[in-house]
């Protein structure tokens, strides 16, 4: 059983600019008020520390900082991968977000894949020489089929 969320959208910018806006300027566009907030005090003001091992931090209204996750892949204009751990998660729980930037003419297609609990076992399987996805995806989710990929509706 595996689970991930996938969305994609085309934005009017080249991939480098789109990457810069996604990372450096996240506080300028991030929409708070989601069903699952990052902390009990809300989402706060988000900021990426650039580069691998950089943190995704949020600063709350009282000035307190909360680490949402850590960057594992930082390829400006191409790819960004970071962990995503809302305050409600237990220490061993984590999810992973992968953002890809692909040039399409004068625009960029940004796709986001948010992987839930299947992240760690896949790495584990890869380390032991099994092809990734094969064992986990064989057991396809009955409910996953019902998730409509918004990329189809909104993407290219």
């Amino acid at each position: 059983m595996t689970s991930k969320v996938y969305v994609a959208l085309r934005v009017p910018a080249n991939p480098l600019r789109a990457f810069e806006a996604f990372t450096d300027e996240i506080a300028l566009w991030w929409q708070p008020g989601n069903l699952f907030q990052l902390t009990p005090s809300g989402d706060g003001r988000l900021a990426f520390e650039p580069g691998v091992d950089g943190r995704l931090l949020t600063t709350l209204a009282d000035g307190e900082e909360f680490e949402v996750g850590r960057i594992s892949i930082w390829e400006p204009g191409r790819r960004l991968v970071f962990t995503w751990r809302p305050a409600s998660f237990t220490p061993e729980q984590s999810t992973e977000v992968e953002v890809r930037f692909e040039g399409v003419g004068n625009e960029t297609r940004i796709s986001i894949e948010h992987r839930a609990w299947d992240t760690i076992p896949q790495r584990h399987a890869a380390r032991h020489g099994f092809p990734e996805h094969v064992t986990l995806q064989r057991a396809a989710d009955w409910w996953r089929a019902s998730l409509i990929m918004l990329g189809n509706k909104l993407g290219v």
Binding site: P12, L35, H114, A116, W142, L150
Partner: protein, 110 residues
């Protein structure tokens, strides 16, 4: 929806053997021994996984009709519904964020 319950569901599913159990129970209820065999792990190891799955509310235990000493495990739907809701909420969130980013990129850079 309770976030605590969802966290327990995610934690319970953070193990390949427990996900295998959930997949197996999707077909039909099964005995612990059957599950251990199918997942290729020892009976005590399977018992521990079943305990975790029970406390997360993902599976429930029943006595077999033909023999009350035999325990049968079956899947409960509620936690999966919570999980599906989490996925849908996450999808909605990223869609909102991407639309907001696109709007941001349409503005001239300051």
């Amino acid at each position: 929806m309770s976030t605590d319950n969802l966290d327990r569901t995610l934690a319970a599913l953070a193990d390949p053997h427990r996900r295998r159990v959930v997949d197996l129970l999707r077909d039909r209820p099964r005995r612990a021994g059957e599950l251990a065999e199918a997942a290729r792990i020892s009976f005590p190891a399977m018992s521990r996984h079943l305990k975790t799955l029970r406390s997360s509310g993902l599976v429930e235990e029943d006595r077999a009709e033909f023999d009350s000493r035999v325990r049968i495990y079956r899947l409960r739907n509620e936690p999966m519904t919570a999980l599906k809701a989490w996925l849908e909420a996450t999808e909605t969130m990223w869609t909102r964020q991407l639309v907001a980013l696109r709007t941001h990129l349409k503005k001239p850079k300051q």
